[in-house]
């Protein structure tokens, strides 16, 4: 596969909503270990509403679609998830403005914009034990694959593996952002809930995605 069409992106976000809603309780449990346990619920709340408003979303222009998703997520995800996931979607939407199809290179650019959006809002960087520790390696992997001219689906699979590995590595990090930071050294050995979720979501998408 060389390109993703707007309908493919729609399918990917649909899969994302599916896996987030399915894992609501599990994501809460991940967050309970070090945070305050609201992550799964806060995230699922926004994606449930996204699905209920699904029919009314414009799906031809990928940029517009992602931006609309971002607005719904910003409005409806509770806690820190609203601004973080909302700015990721809105920033990616801005990047993809007017696009009806996406190359692998553009896909990596889109994910990079999501990373930029999150960093602008939350101020975290690689190694702060946040979802960026999965998202940044996944993005870098896509960039390398684009340079190598790989098939887009193969590249996405590699990228998902990088996300899972990045999440795994957060076990070794002392949290400095979010409520987990109050634990200090006690947060060691607990993976970051957001990073773990990114690994699970990306893996689910690459396993389930069919045109």
């Amino acid at each position: 596969m060389e390109k993703l069409y707007a309908s493919d992106i729609v399918k990917i976000i649909d899969l994302m909503a599916e896996v987030i809603i399915e894992n609501e309780v599990y994501f809460c449990e991940l967050d309970s270990a070090a945070g305050d346990g609201d992550f799964g619920m806060s995230l699922a709340k926004g994606f449930k509403i996204l699905r209920s408003e699904w029919a009314g979303l414009s799906k031809e222009d990928t940029g517009l679609f992602l931006k609309d998703c971002g607005m719904i997520i910003t409005e409806n995800c509770g806690g820190a998830s609203g601004p973080i996931w909302g700015s990721a979607f809105r920033s990616a939407g801005k990047y993809a403005e007017g696009k009806t199809e996406i190359t692998l290179e553009e896909m990596s650019g889109l994910l990079q914009s999501a990373v930029d959006g999150i960093q602008k809002r939350g101020g975290a960087k690689l190694g702060d034990k946040t979802l960026l520790d999965a998202l940044i390696p996944a993005t870098e992997s896509l960039k390398i694959s684009a340079k190598e001219g790989e098939d887009i689906l193969d590249a996405m699979k590699k990228s998902a593996r990088e996300a899972v590995e990045g999440a795994e590595k957060t076990k070794l990090i002392v949290a400095s952002k979010g409520r987990a930071s109050y634990l200090g050294e006690r947060s060691i050995n607990m993976p970051d809930a957001g990073a773990t979720a990114i690994g699970i979501i990306f893996t689910y998408i690459v396993n389930q995605f069919k045109r």
């Binding site: 910003t74 409005e75 400095s176 979010g178 006690r186």
Partner: protein, 330 residues
């Protein structure tokens, strides 16, 4: 889980409705879960606070004359969304600008900051203060810093009085910041709280254990240890606080003994006696005392102690009248 409840998903909505039914001088914007004064004064600085629910009477209980203009209610222990806060700013827009009083947590800071940026695009002047009074958390450049806990109530009271007196936005912000610079708290838990959506306690403590330095969302504290008699507990708490700001003989403070939700008022008054003795022993004078459930953690047993060091300006503002569901001063 044994709670007075219909469904976990509707707890916050139904509670908000219950608040305005009991206090008809307040009104609820249902869509955005904003509780605001029915009669807004366009010629004073607007004050907004809010955060996750589960800390009642905070923050809706502090909406009214002499304190807040609106409180934005998030889900239990989760910050309200950017859009909710943005709408609170729009709905309480005044000719003198808006001050947001934010408890220092990642989610709250992100949502309140993003909402203030949106409001500024609409030419509303917005200033922000971040309350970070919990001495249990280490403050360092590498973390998000201390948590905002019960000391927030003093910020509401003092900034609220300043706004009601007609001070400018910059002056209201300055007294709020002065309050934040002089207020310190520490808490302990005897039991965990139970979030309705989860249905089970966040953590477990043995019959003879306490979590010293606990946060108001059940976040871990400094140490888990054996419970001690009230006098000893009071001594430990006061010591932590006075070590944090240098006090001098004769300094005056406002004292808040705050219940976390499930400790009887009897025990809070008993704790007040112990804490007052520990403060007097250090040559510090208590100017005014508040005892009760002001910033709770749903059904957690335990309490927090807050000291606010006062100067003449803060004393006068603290004594100004306020008429809100949870604090009435005439």
């Amino acid at each position: 889980m044994k709670k007075i409840i219909n469904r976990p998903e509707t707890v916050v909505d139904e509670m908000c409705k219950g608040i305005v039914l009991a206090h008809p001088e307040l009104v609820l914007s249902e869509k955005y879960k904003i509780i605001k004064r029915k009669r807004l004064n366009k010629d004073k600085v607007s004050l907004i606070s809010g955060g996750g629910s589960g800390h009642e009477p905070a923050h809706a209980g502090y909406v009214g004359t002499g304190m807040l203009d609106a409180a934005v209610c998030g889900d239990v222990f989760a910050s309200p969304s950017t859009i909710q806060i943005y709408n609170a700013i729009l709905e309480t827009r005044s000719n003198r600008g808006t001050l947001l009083i934010i408890k220092n947590y990642s989610g709250d800071c992100m949502n309140f900051d993003a909402a203030s940026e949106m409001a500024e695009d609409e030419d509303i002047v917005v200033e922000k203060v971040y309350v970070n009074d919990d001495v249990a958390v280490k403050d360092s450049l590498y973390t998000i810093g201390r948590r905002g806990v019960a000391g927030t109530v003093f910020v509401h009271k003092i900034a609220g009085a300043a706004a009601e007196k007609g001070m400018d936005l910059s002056q209201v912000k300055a007294v709020a910041e002065k309050t934040i610079a002089n207020v310190r708290s520490i808490g302990f838990a005897f039991t965990s709280c139970t979030v309705p959506a989860k249905g089970t306690p966040i953590f477990t403590l043995e019959e003879d254990e306490m979590e010293f330095g606990v946060g108001i969302h059940g976040e871990p504290g400094i140490v888990r240890e054996k419970i001690v008699p009230a006098d000893e507990l009071a001594e430990k708490m006061v010591e932590r606080i006075v070590k944090d700001i240098p006090y001098q003989q004769g300094d005056e403070v406002a004292l808040l003994i705050n219940g976390l939700g499930a400790s009887p008022v009897q025990e809070l008054y008993l704790l007040n006696n112990s804490v007052s003795n520990a403060i007097a022993k250090r040559g510090i004078k208590i100017y005014k005392t508040f005892v009760g459930n002001y910033m709770t953690s749903i059904d957690m047993a335990g309490a927090s102690v807050t000291l606010l060091r006062l100067d003449q300006e803060l004393k006068e503002l603290l004594d100004e009248p306020s008429d809100t569901p949870a604090i009435k001063i005439w």
